[in-house]
Amino acid sequence: MTQSHRIDGGQIDRSRSLKFEWNGKKMAGHPGDTLASALIANGVQLVGRSFKYHRPRGIFSAGSEEPNALVQLRKGAAQEPNTRATTVELFEGLAATSQNHRGSLEWDLMAANDLLARFLSAGFYYKTFMWPKAFWEKLYEPVIRASAGLGNLSGQADPDSYDHGYLHCDLLIIGAGPAGLAAALAAGRSGARVILADEDFVMGGRLNAETHEVDGQPGADWAAAAIAELSAMDNVRLMTRTTVYGSYDHGIYGALERVTDHLADAAGKPRQVLWRLYTQRALLTAGATERSIGFGNNDRPGIMLAGAVRAYVNRFGAAPGRRVAVFTNNEDGLRTAEDLKAKGIEVAAVVDARKGEYVLNTVGRRGLKSITLSTGPTIPIDCLAVSGGWSPNVHLTCHHRGRPVWRDDIAGFVPGEGLPPGMTVAGAANGAMTLAAALNKAHEAGASLASALGAKGNAGDAPTGSDENFDATPFWYVADSKPRAWVDLQNDVTSKDVKQSHQEGFRAVEHLKRYTTLGMATDQGKTSNILGLAIMAEASGKTIPETGTTIFRPPYNPVAVGAFAGRARGKEFRPTRLTPSHHWAKENGADFVETGMWLRAQWFKRSGEKGWRDSVDREAAAVRKSVGICDVTTLGKIDIQGRDAAEFLNRIYSNPFLKLPVGKVRYGLMLREDGVAYDDGTTARLTETHFVMTTTTANAVTVFRNMEFARQCLWPDLDVHLISTTDGWAQFAVAGPNSRALLQKVVDDLDLSNDAFPFMACTECTVFGGTPARLFRISFSGELAYEVAVPARYGDAMMRGLMAAGEEFDAVPYGTEALGVLRIEKGHAAGNELNGQTSAQNLGLGGMVSQKKDAIGTKLSTRPEMNRDDDLRLVGFRPKDKSILLTAGAHFLNPGDPEDMAHDQGWMTSVAYSPELGHSVGLGYLKQGSERMGETVRAYSPVRNQDILVEVCSVHHIDPEGVRQRG
């Protein structure tokens, strides 16, 4: 297809041709084109179907405010719906398709909706789908779901990468139109550190689209010279393709840079970068957006904003039509006719609303054919340029709830009170609607902001531009027009819908938006909000400022979720922590499980083992029979030192710690301030003033945080210092009857006999001939057991050394599953039992909580409700039929009781198959459990479809007297 509508001039590189595909049709454009300008150059008018009525639609604007030309870009996994053809830079091989139609774009099967329009007016959802009720799930919802939305997602994972970036500057200038460039020149010359950001791929804004002159040269040339001067300044950073989408607290701005969206191949670079900009001051020079006029059938392909027509003709060398008419209420619109004539395009009519002439109706289903005027004639044309005036782009000024104020002289809202602190607004965004005024004000703002920021250089002179007449005579819609007049093209909201909203009582602007969907979706009503507001104002007999204004939230333009996620996707969502023995474990067949950020070995598979149970049963049995080794580095470790360390611990733990002797370890139970059990672990006293605490893996971070809170905020003058050493020490459990014999080979000159180093002893020592270590005689398994810690850098060597030393005892490594089996057999509580709802009393540890001191949580743990005799107690369970495996989560019922919550007796928290006992064992909370030893209850699990009888027993399934661990 030839570029039938390509005309002379413009900022495109005609020396190169770019091939692209539109709905499968091959076309060509040039570097410098957008997809929209290339489509126009190729004579394409129809580009999509409207949201509700599936009306044929064309390109409406030349910027990010585009409501109509939403297309699907690229293919396969990279497919992206709802991209605006007006901002997509053309590249070689670009493939785009239209969206929101069934069948072809030309013959959309859903177009029947347009014939049903009178049933689909504002609020039809709320009225139509109310009855019969049964129809909702089966009929209405599936149909609505199938019809809703615009483009389609690929359904595949996004293959592109996104990044986050951080930048600091003195002054952020948002928008690089004439005002932004003038301000950047002033501030840059003064020496301030400036970032100038613009969403377009070429800076200059309207200067590229108009035929204005600045400093005596064509505007586009002046802009190019300004960009060249700014590029040469070390203190200025120019960011094209960068949308500043939000203003956040304390001078932080969010910006999205489209780094490789304009390239066929990203070549390994991120597709987009989400920038966080830290600014001292910000200057908003975002310009203004043109708005439309409401008249009959004003949505046909070929009807376009007048400013967009000028942009296509002047900047892109593409003619939106061969015979064009202009419908305007201002001087600015009239310039369109002059620019078109200068390009040799026929101007069939100029309809000036200020003279009482209007366009009443239009004809042309898939492309404009003619317009009918209020003065009578019907004029055949293929493009109509419409200008209803310009609205300052105040969006970012509203992000801190600033409310724009109405200015009659420009018939638009300008920034009012409540700007984000540090923000200044200049140029058209601030209501300086002529080029001369915008340049002047922006230069002044740039210079004074730079000077306020301490820059001392010479800002130079303000550029001079033509001071054209800006005559804003409000004219919103043609009241005499009979056919529907569109207000919001993207959401198919007509002037009738706005009036209906008023009639039905939805008169506040926020209600208007929700009831009619005016101003929703990707364009957020950039071209339509004011028009809707004006019609509502008229219907209410009020002025526009009396009617109100919608304010804007971030983002200014849509930002892909992928950009917010950045690199934090999949495995990179959070850090992965590896234990010191990870590589050893990997070499030895470990299967890993995520516990928080950690990867822990859950079992070590040996050849011949068919399933995980084979490995776990073997490991657990080997510990009880001889000795096993488990990496327990993931437990939180906190080093506590100071003269008041013991006193501090005594206030943190619910049980006493003041008199813990040096060289001893004690189990400690922490409560939350509300008295609920929070965390447990062991704390060793290495010297009079030095303690080492372990926490659970899960609570390592928060326990440390809460202890710092207690240290700094509750007892600021206790002499105690804390440091987390979780990563500093590699720690291994060595458990089983042969653990002493194994460790005796490992430690240097230390008597490990029961007399010299009894249960709950601890010491600092050395291992393997001088490596510093800490040894604790503690047991999670119930066997004779130790934990030995070495500095983390020796962790891998320690694991290998322990395994080598253990060879003669058939030592096995064991993972988290066997660890779980051993602790359930022994009846030790873990995360399943400490679930944030249970008290010390529930755990059977009520007696531990000392009433003689004020520790965190003590006071509220004494509340009667937490100490009822009939309350839950942690007890053990075994199946009556030993061949059955117990189910965690099963609820207990007295035999014969109905299965309902009123008869609930508690629940099973943890279960495991005990290789030692040869049957399944469980732990759980049972009402008055401690008094029901030997009783039989039902363990009922409708989720797992299990209903069995279990016997209540001691939590200590093995060695209830604790002989083994003390041996």
């Binding site: 001078g251 932080i252 301030e673 945080r705 710092e708 001191k853 006071k859």
Partner: protein, 94 residues
């Protein structure tokens, strides 16, 4: 948000963990407090629209607990103190 740390200067709020009302510093003595006093301390917080003194923890930094005076309507931060100094000033030594 940016929190002006009294020791480290302006730091991004992302480095901090938020706890809440700074009245959490005023923990009653569990041995002498009434049930009601302890209940109020554990459960009741003011939720002002406007100036609010609140606790922030510089977890990704120097681990200071700070008392930040922040306007909940505007996010203006008008004053930042080390929580330890606040605790001492309110008589929490020893």
């Amino acid at each position: 948000m940016i929190i002006p740390h009294p020791l480290l200067g302006p730091r991004d709020a992302a480095e901090f963990v938020y706890k809440g009302d700074a009245s959490l510093i005023n923990r009653p003595d569990g041995m002498t407090a009434s049930d009601d006093e302890m209940h109020d301390y554990a459960y009741l917080r003011d939720n002002p629209a406007g100036e609010h003194r609140e606790l922030w923890y510089h977890e990704q930094g120097d681990r200071s607990w700070l008392v930040v005076t922040r306007n909940t309507m505007t996010h203006d931060i008008t004053y930042v103190e080390l929580a330890r100094d606040v605790a001492r000033a309110s008589g929490r030594s020893r």
